[in-house]
């Protein structure tokens, strides 16, 4: 065990040194820590941070095309507007004329022995400066990294990025402006916003319906017990659900700590983590579908009581209940764009969904995943087991067999 631990530490050290290269590390130096973070980020798999744009030069625009002058960085907001307007679709179609300078797409760097004279505009990529830049530097949606020994004689400006001075010299002004805060949704036409939200809601509902039908097909008894628990002990289920949410993380922590403290248990930590997460998800998801089942059953039976001819089955219950749960989001889909009212609709839908999920989660816990029937209302309480009940209701033998059948619904009417 100790040998394995030592091997692991050695491996971590080797990886850290490889990341840092041959440079000495000063733990107290913020720049060194930042450099380390950047290097770690650079070696991590690309999908974690999105696919970077391939570095390429930006061709000059036509005489009437977009032109910017990075020599004047007095109005960064206007510059940002011009740069974003110049970005082409696809990006390789971007054309931009830079007065006394060049424009680049994707990552750009100046080597430690290089000297670049003129302004540089970097679009959607980081600018790594190791050498000397005699001019201004602008980065749109990228960071400017000024490495030790690098010199920038002019001003630097990032829009939607940061300037990270890792030990170089910036002789001019340093400017940082965060990215445009307007979301795509805010700038999109209203119809698109509503359609996007409706599609999202439909997608979620479709997924839940598929999962619900799967549960009905493969775990109907358990689903029905959880559903009955919700129906007959809703308040208790909700409280247990809320308590369960509160205790979820502490329980997880206690589980992991408990396993780590035991020699054999430490090996099981990864499995325990996965199993715990899966159980929590299944309990919440299954519980929510059970709530939908309960809602659907109630709605269906009420409609049947009103004379509507329906086929009472679990698939219908789940479908009806999920439609009911989804309908609370319809108001947000339709009017979510309205200031204040949209927020209220969102809040109400979120609250209603949370109540449903909490009750379902609690019912799943109470019924131990649909195994225990104690709170499902199916068992008669001991107090009801009176002599009269037992006498009047033959339980065994010939009297029980001879007991007349219950009249059906048609006769009752």
């Amino acid at each position: 065990m100790r040998a394995a631990d030592r091997t692991c530490r050695t491996a971590i050290l080797v990886v850290a040194l490889a990341l840092l290269g041959a440079r000495p590390v000063h733990a107290a130096s913020g720049a060194a820590v930042e450099e380390l973070a950047l290097r770690i980020r650079s070696v991590l798999p690309v999908p974690l941070f999105g696919v970077p744009l391939a570095p390429q030069a930006v061709a000059q625009a036509d005489p009437d095309g977009p032109t910017i002058d990075p020599g004047e960085l007095d109005n960064p907001a206007a510059l940002e507007r011009d740069l974003r307007a110049a970005l082409g679709r696809p990006r390789s179609a971007t054309r931009l004329t830079v007065t006394d300078g060049i424009a680049r797409l994707g990552r750009y760097s100046i080597g430690s022995e290089e000297v670049h004279r003129g302004h540089v505009v970097v679009l959607e990529g980081n600018a790594d400066i190791h050498g000397r830049l005699e001019g201004n530097l602008v980065a749109l949606d990228g960071d400017i990294l000024v490495h030790p020994g690098a010199v920038i004689t002019g001003d630097v400006l990032t829009i939607g990025g940061h300037v990270r001075n890792l030990g170089g010299t910036i002789e001019g002004a340093t400017q940082e402006m965060d990215a445009t805060p307007l979301s795509t949704e805010a700038t999109a036409p209203l119809g698109t916003v509503v359609a996007t939200r409706a599609a999202g809601l439909l997608g979620v509902m479709f997924t839940l319906i598929v999962v619900g039908f799967g549960l009905v097909t493969f775990g109907r008894p358990n689903l029905e017990i959880v559903s009955d628990t919700v129906t007959s002990s809703f308040g208790r289920s909700f409280l247990v659900g809320v308590l369960g949410q509160v205790l979820l993380l502490p329980t997880f922590g206690a589980l992991v700590v408990g396993l780590v403290l035991t020699v054999a248990g430490a090996l099981l930590v990864p499995f325990a983590v996965v199993v715990f997460a899966l159980l929590a998800i299944v309990a919440a998801l299954g519980g929510t579908i059970a709530v939908a089942h309960a809602m659907g059953e109630t709605i269906t039976r009420r409609r049947m009581a009103h004379g509507v001819m329906l086929s009472p089955n679990a698939y219908r219950y789940v479908l009806t209940g999920l439609s009911g749960l989804g309908s609370v989001w319809l108001a947000w889909v339709a009017f979510g764009w309205v200031p204040f009212a949209g927020g209220v609709a969102f809040g109400i839908a979120t609250l209603a969904s949370w109540v449903a999920v909490s009750a379902g989660f609690g019912a799943a816990l109470l019924s131990r995943g649909g195994i225990r029937e104690e709170f499902s209302g199916r068992m008669l309480p001991t107090a009801m087991m009176t002599d009269e009940y037992l006498w009047a209701t033959p339980q065994f033998g010939v009297p029980a067999v001879k007991r007349p059948p219950k009249p059906d619904a048609t006769d009752q009417r």
């Binding site: 206007a78 002789e171 002004a173 400017q175 940082e176 402006m177 307007l182 309205v338 200031p339 204040f340």
Partner: protein, 283 residues
């Protein structure tokens, strides 16, 4: 029912036309260098929000941090080293309209810092901003503060560096407090105002006895002066009330008995219409 529906539809349609809120942040700074201008003529424009100004690090000529409403304002950053001119702040954009959101969400914030050793000729146009300008330890060569419709505090919390030719405080319909004025060491002070209230506090390390020129329309001026300082108030006034312990009137001149002999004096020249001047002693 129909009128109700029509009203609801109008409200919804109207609300949809409101501009979306868009707060942005912007930071700029410039390192101090050997070739920096001997005098930095600085103009700050900040129409609405909260402004903080103070002395910064010696290795930075200036630094500005902004959080602003991008729908209505755009940052200004212009520096001309040849003439030593610097313009920082926000300028208003064309778009306006009603904002349906809380004040805290749209609160604009500006923070300015200047190198203590670089002499400043500072003009601060604060509009309706809530300003706290701590000018202590800065090199203030001249100062002009224009305050519009909210409260502002100018504090010389520590003695300033260099010589201060003068400071002017223009007050709109607001309350402007200037604290520890003795630390500023300005030769001339001027208060111009409309219907606001100005408080001039002369505590601090006394470096120079200033002359104070006051031109108020309908405002109130409160002078807080360390006890033992000679005070004289004189000038052309219309319907002005002057009140203060130890002030004796001789014609159009109010003065303390020790004004002629005091080593520290405040000489006030009034040009007011309907205004009140109060003198409070600081023990």
């Amino acid at each position: 029912m129909r009128p109700l529906l029509a009203c609801a539809a109008l409200l919804v349609a109207g609300a949809s036309l409101l501009p979306a809120q868009a707060m942005r942040s912007y930071t700029t700074s410039r390192p101090a260098r050997a070739g920096d201008p001997a005098l930095l003529r600085t103009t700050l424009d900040f129409g609405a929000g909260r402004v903080v100004l103070r002395a910064g690090a010696t290795d930075q000529l200036y630094r500005m941090q902004l959080r602003y409403d991008a729908e209505r304002f755009a940052p200004i950053h212009a520096y001309e080293p040849a003439v030593g001119a610097l313009h920082l702040g926000l300028e208003q954009q064309g778009r306006g309209g009603i904002r349906v959101t809380s004040r805290a969400q749209l609160e604009q914030v500006a923070r300015f810092e200047f190198a203590p050793h670089v002499p400043l000729e500072l003009t601060a146009n604060l509009g309706a901003s809530e300003a706290t300008l701590d000018l202590g330890d800065l090199s203030i060569a001249a100062l002009m503060v224009r305050s519009g419709a909210t409260r502002g505090i100018v504090d010389f919390s520590r003695p300033t560096r260099g010589e201060c030719r003068g400071a002017t405080f223009a007050v709109g319909a607001t309350e402007l407090s200037v604290m520890h004025l003795a630390n500023a060491g300005c030769a001339e002070l001027r208060v111009e105002g409309g219907v606001g209230r100005a408080i001039l506090d002369f505590s601090g390390t006394w470096r120079r006895s200033p002359t104070l020129s006051v031109a108020l329309a309908m405002g109130t001026l409160t002078l807080r002066v360390p006890r033992g300082t000679g005070v004289r108030i004189r000038g052309d006034k219309v319907l002005t009330s002057i009140a203060g312990e130890g002030l004796a009137r001789a014609g159009d001149v109010w003065s303390t008995a020790d004004f002629a002999t005091a080593t520290r004096t405040v000489d006030v020249e009034l040009k007011t219409s309907v205004a009140g001047v109060e003198l409070d002693w600081i023990d």
